[in-house]
Symmetry: C2
């Protein structure tokens, strides 16, 4: 039986030399998943980018699925919407998502793979149910409408990301941050609190 190294998160002792390698693998994996999707990204290519042998990926992450599961971990870091003036919610959300989308490729990786890979879809649903929905629920007066409202918000924000980062529709990809907030802000505002 093989001996597997204990993952860093569950260990409090001295860091191991292999932690750096692990990190390089994970970084390369994120890049490849983000630009090629789950099935497009190959373990061999990821290992090559990390400068190690493909077999090491297996030793550290067990399988391609395991690697993806760890590479697709994502925290939206949503701010507390309750502490915000009501009418600022839409613009704040749009701006926050825009930032999170652009300084971390994880969501793009997820979005790309959501159509062809069940794990990616499940992970996206988890992010929705565990992060977006609660944030919206904490905001509105009637909690019954929170799931629907957060679903609508997700639809607009994910659709925009799809057009901008994956499809790269020229007019959408060319938009400036201010314009994006100007156009999408009111939409998200209405979905969150309006009508």
């Amino acid at each position: 039986m093989l001996t597997y190294t204990v993952p860093m998160a569950t260990r409090t002792t001295k860091p191991r030399r292999s932690d750096a390698t692990r990190a390089r693998i994970l970084a390369a994996a994120r890049e490849h998943f983000a630009s090629d999707g789950y099935e497009g990204a190959t373990i061999r290519a990821i290992a090559a980018d990390a400068g190690i042998d493909p077999a090491l990926v297996m030793r550290y992450y067990g399988s391609k699925d395991g690697l993806f599961a760890e590479a697709a971990e994502f925290d939206l870091r949503l701010p507390d919407l309750g502490a915000l003036p009501r009418r600022a919610v839409g613009a704040t959300l749009v701006g926050h998502f825009l930032t999170r989308w652009e300084d971390d490729g994880t969501l793009q990786a997820l979005l790309r793979s959501v159509g062809t890979n069940g794990h990616a879809a499940e992970r996206m649903r988890t992010i929705f149910a565990g992060q977006i929905r609660p944030a919206i629920a904490a905001l509105c007066a009637e909690p019954d409408s929170a799931p629907l409202r957060s679903g609508l918000i997700a639809s607009q924000l994910m659709g925009f990301a799809l057009c901008r980062y994956v499809l790269r529709l020229p007019p959408v990809a060319a938009m400036q941050r201010d314009d994006i907030i100007r156009w999408l802000g009111p939409t998200v505002q209405r979905y969150a609190c309006g009508k």
Copy 2:
């Protein structure tokens, strides 16, 4: 050298016996592409569903890419938006898209594969540039803003389809047609004519 049968579209003579087989292959391909995406759908599975040998798919469509190209052909059949009262544009567009999404799996196939397959992405861009953008351009007074406006509309409608048909987020998947129009209509209306 092999002899390839002339495709139906370019022929005016008597229909051939193989036309039925072709159609069965294409139908099976659309189903598989729609539910599994480009790389998830296999020629073998498509052929099995069509009740013929995989080699026949190659004879008729040349390659998997060729099959996908033909299976992904899609006409949105957008109505003439100019002939409509201005304030009905949003609701009409949403309703029309909803119908087109649900009675034809082609858009779903495209949407699923857009993240992992370049041909699917290119086709989606073509549909945007060739069908959506012109329809919006024919609508608004200032034609300069048409690309941006159609991009925004595409982002909302594709995002909604992603959440509803691919991701199947419960609150979005459960929405009734009327509710969808009530919620998305005003958004699309503003993107098309507003602000």
